[in-house]
Symmetry: C2
Amino acid sequence: MVGNDIEKLIKIIAKLPSLGTRSARRIVLQLLKKRETLFFPLIDALNNVAENIKTCEVCGNYDTLSPCSICSSSSRDSSVLCVVQDVADLWAMERISLFKGKYHVLGGILSAIDGISAEDLNLESLFSRLEKENISEIILALPATIDGQITTNYILQRLKSYNIKITTLAQGIPMGAELDYMDEGTIQLALNSRKVL
Amino acid sequence: MVGNDIEKLIKIIAKLPSLGTRSARRIVLQLLKKRETLFFPLIDALNNVAENIKTCEVCGNYDTLSPCSICSSSSRDSSVLCVVQDVADLWAMERISLFKGKYHVLGGILSAIDGISAEDLNLESLFSRLEKENISEIILALPATIDGQITTNYILQRLKSYNIKITTLAQGIPMGAELDYMDEGTIQLALNSRKVL
C-alpha cells in the first residue's frame, strides 16, 4: 500500500530509541507534509553531523574537532579527570556547568550478562593517559548499578599502583524525592552515609 | 558543550511528533554510535523519500508515482470513493485490506478554532472528480469529532445536486471495549443505532 521507500524509512526510524512503528509512521507523514520547514532541514542537519562530527581520540567525546573542544581547552583543569560510561553522561555532567576538569568516556561498563569485558572498553587509553598526562584526581562517575560498581572496583584495582586520588559521586536520596517513594537500598545507603549537620 | 551541528540536529529532531529534547538527544547519540548500521542508512532512506515521493495529483496520497498506484490500479473499483482527512487515515484504511475502491485525501477538516475553511481543503478537486469520473458512492470516513461532523455535513450539502449515494462509517462501541469504560456519548449513539439480531 505504501511506497517501498516510505516503508523502508519507517522501518529505520522505528529502530531509533523510544520510537516504534506507529510513531515512525506519524513522523514520516509529518516530514512529507512539511517538506520545506522540517524534512529538508532535517536531512541537512543529519548530513552536517554525519560529515563533521568525529569521536575525540583523547577522551571519546563527540565534536567537530579531535581532540575535542573540552580536551583542547586551556581554561579547564587538566589535573582532574572524570570517567563516565557514555557521551550521554558527559553531556549530563556538562549541563550542571560545575565540573571544570576533563573527561574520559569508557564507551560502556563491564557486564557479564552483555558479555562486555575490559578489552571492549576504552580502558587502556585511560591508563596510558595517566602515564602521559599530569593527573592528580580521577572521579569515577559510573552508574550506581551492580555493573557500574564492578567496573568502579575493577578500575580501582588497576589504579592501585598509581599515586592518584580516586573519588566517586556521592550516593543517597535524590533532590526533591520523598522517603516514601524511595527503594530500601537507597534509604539504607543514605542512612549509612549520613552526615553531621 | 555540545557541537553546534549536534545541537541543531537535536532541536530539529525534537520538533518531530511524539519526541522531545530528551529523546532527541538519545536518538542522536544512538546515531553517532551506530554510524554504519543506523546513521548512514537513515540518511539514505530520507534522501530516497525526499527525492522520490510525490503527492498524487488525483487523490492526495503519497507515492513514487503521480497518479499514485491506487489511483492508477485497474483492479480497484473506481466507482467508490473514500474521502479521508489525511494520508494517515488512508494508510489505516489500507491496513484492513477490505476496501477496494479509491480515495480522496482532504488534507484536513473544517475547523473554526484552527481557522481552516473550505478553501484550505482539497474540496474543489473532489467535486471536479465527481464531474469527470463515474462515481456511484462516496464514503465519508472523516473523524468522529465535532469538526469531522461539520465537515461531513458541509460536503453533504455540496453534494445534494449530484445523484450519488453518500455513506459514512458506522459509529458505536469499538471492538473489545467494555461498556463501563465507554463515554456516555458513544453508548447513547450505539443504543440509538442498535441492530436487530
